[in-house]
């Protein structure tokens, strides 16, 4: 063995040569770009306020990252948000006391997550198709319940995103706290380790004694719960609930996970990456909106961003072990 073969890569290289670094660099780039595009951008209060528009999606994206690392995918969370919110709103507008109405909304979310989990795990159907099916089904059910009307929520419930704690809107703070918590779970606990293992090689993991089915089911249920909470938070922000709440949200969540370096086929990804990617998306889209750029340009930039990020992520993954 020559000295070259056993040389250890320098610590800084290991630490920095990761997809999250690329996401961070893109974020910095986006901040510079957005500031250059418009003088109105560089306002911390405004940026934080803009983040609240995506904070609910970002929170669910964190859990979605764990699902994707585990080798599955869930495209139904946005519809889950809508249906949970519609059930909650309908319940409280029919006179059911608030705590129970909230409970109904949360339970609905958990049940929806359970349904997804059952179809994927017990019936062994591919998760991408199942969740495309449930995404349409749940949204449709939300339409049946709410029709085309908006259901109002009581005034005291509105505006949780305006509640400023420690200088930041509450939902942004919640997102940061959730990122920290889930990052610790994924990065330091045995449970987290097992998720990575299942994503890398499910059969090997099962044979190694890891309770694959149970872990996957718990992740789908967690998605369901996170989605319903996100739905209620969105209801508070908007002041009313419609069946089209969060329409297209699943795409945003997947984008956040992908831009954060999560590998679509499982086994790789981090919460930090998704956290940075959420900020990247908000900075990029807010920067373009405040510069009054038309959707034409925004979509193009978004598409290029995704392609560039996936090329870089792939490049990095092919060069490193982890």
């Amino acid at each position: 063995m020559s000295a070259r073969e056993t040389a250890v890569r320098p610590a800084w290289k290991i630490a920095l040569y990761r997809p999250e670094t690329m996401t961070f660099m893109l974020l910095v780039l986006a901040m510079f770009g957005a500031s250059a595009l418009s003088p109105y951008f560089l306002d911390i209060a405004y940026i934080l306020d803009s983040f609240t528009l995506s904070a609910e999606f970002a929170m669910v994206a964190l859990v979605l990252t764990m699902v994707i690392i585990c080798g599955e995918i869930d495209l139904s969370p946005a519809s889950n948000m809508a249906l949970s919110a519609c059930l909650f709103a309908w319940a409280q507008s029919s006179g059911i006391p608030m705590p129970i109405a909230i409970g109904i909304g949360l339970c609905a979310g958990v049940v929806m997550g359970l349904i997804n989990g059952l179809m994927v795990i017990t019936l062994q159907l591919p998760s991408i198709i199942v969740t495309i099916g449930t995404l349409t089904l749940y949204r449709g059910l939300a339409q049946v319940i709410a029709g085309d009307k908006s259901i109002r929520v009581p005034d005291w419930f509105i505006g949780i995103n305006n509640w400023i704690v420690l200088g930041t809107p509450f939902t942004v703070l919640l997102f940061a706290a959730l990122s920290l918590a889930l990052g610790l779970v994924l990065g330091t606990t045995v449970f987290g380790r097992q998720i990575y293992l299942i994503g890398t090689n499910e059969i090997a993991a099962t044979h190694a004694g890891i309770r694959t089915k149970r872990i996957k089911m718990s992740l789908f249920v967690a998605m369901g719960l996170a989605s319903s909470i996100a739905g209620l938070l969105t209801a508070s922000r908007l002041g009313s609930v419609r069946y089209d709440l969060g329409l297209g949200g699943e795409l945003q969540m997947v984008l956040m996970a992908m831009l954060g370096g999560t590998y679509i086929f499982g086994g790789r990804g981090t919460i930090l990456g998704t956290f940075l990617a959420a900020w990247l998306l908000v900075v990029a889209s807010t920067g373009m909106t405040v510069a009054n750029l038309l959707p034409a340009v925004q979509l193009t930039v978004l598409g290029i961003l995704l392609i560039v990020s996936i090329i870089a992520t792939n490049f990095i993954y092919s060069r490193t072990q982890r």
Partner: protein, 331 residues
């Protein structure tokens, strides 16, 4: 002596400088969605009026016409410090919070081409092409005149939550119920094409299949009337089924010329933009008061009255388009 000359010179220069740097009024118009030709006309009115009066104008719109898609845009405009926000709202109530924010910062909020039904307190005034209360009545009259005032009719609308659509449909229903002139006409169905050509077409075809005796269709949406006319044209049933509604002359010209559609109605969207700018500038410099019952003059439009609920109309009656005048319009 020298000192006072210098002082007055300095004052004069400062005054001139302030005048030169006085901020022009910034007006923005937020459409329902992008790629919608209808808003091009309204934008034209805004642009010309601003060019004539020295204000800055920009048009923005979200990619899709969902209820919440305009919220980040409105917030961006607040951040940009605009003076006037004109908006064609995608939802009657989803924008309440953010519009209140805008008004709290002193921004004038005008809804142009549509209103926040039930939530009018969240905007300063509304500019509508005509009094929306008469649209339902006039459209029923239009279809009645085409089918001889008797027979089955249906409504092909846009999205279920569009406040303007619902207002007109209510008007149509009331007219049919209360006016004996239309006693022999029955409304058999109201369907929704979501402003999508595919959906509007399938709904139209379903109408024809479900109601074989259908004689007239009112489609108060440019996408719906075009889709309905397309179906009638490809089936060659223009003699038995009469399609009318609100349509753009540019989209309907072919159908009118080959006889598929006899007549339809609309207004001039351009005038709405024109009026909006003049009204906003007048409010901001104090020459117009935003009071119900007040009147003011607008070049090319004459005297405009502020009606109940702070609403203004650019014209009194709908314009009817038919083979005789279809070529006179270029929008």
């Amino acid at each position: 002596m020298k000192k006072s000359i210098l002082t007055s010179l300095a004052l004069g220069v400062t005054f001139a400088a302030t005048m030169a740097f006085a901020e022009p009024i910034k007006i923005v118009y937020i459409g329902k969605n992008t790629g919608n030709p209808y808003f091009d006309s309204i934008t034209g009115g805004f642009q010309d009026a601003c060019a004539a009066n020295g204000c800055e104008f920009e048009f923005v719109a979200p990619a899709t016409a969902e209820a919440t898609s305009q919220i980040p845009i409105i917030e961006a405009q607040i951040q940009r410090g605009v003076n006037v926000i004109g908006i064609a709202p995608n939802s009657p109530d989803a924008l309440n919070q953010v519009l209140d924010d805008a008004r709290a910062k002193g921004i004038l909020v005008l809804t142009v081409n549509g209103d926040l039904t039930g939530n009018e307190s969240h905007r300063d005034a509304t500019i509508l092409p005509v009094n929306f209360d008469i649209v339902g009545r006039d459209q029923v009259e239009m279809v009645g005149s085409l089918i001889g005032y008797e027979g089955e009719i249906a409504i092909l609308s846009a999205t279920t939550e569009a406040p303007d659509q619902n207002k007109w449909i209510v008007g149509m229903n009331e007219t049919l119920k209360s006016d004996p002139k239309y006693a022999k006409m029955t409304l058999v169905a109201t369907v929704y094409g979501d402003d999508q050509p595919e959906k509007s077409t399938t709904e139209m075809e379903a109408l024809l299949a479900n109601f074989p005796n259908l004689k007239g269709v009112i489609a108060p949406t440019t996408v719906g009337i075009a889709a309905g006319a397309q179906v009638v044209q490809s089936r060659g049933i223009a003699e038995t089924v009469h399609v009318t509604g609100l349509g753009l002359p540019s989209e309907m010209r072919d159908f009118v010329k080959d006889g598929t559609v006899t007549a339809f109605q609309l207004w001039s969207p351009y005038n709405e933009g024109w009026l909006a700018v003049h009204f906003a500038l007048g409010l901001l410099d104090g020459s117009i008061k935003n009071e119900v019952g007040g009147t003011f003059e607008v070049p090319n439009l004459g005297t405009i009255t502020i009606n109940a609920n702070n609403s203004m109309n650019t014209q009194a009656e709908l314009t009817t388009f038919n083979a005789a005048n279809i070529d006179d319009f270029n929008f």
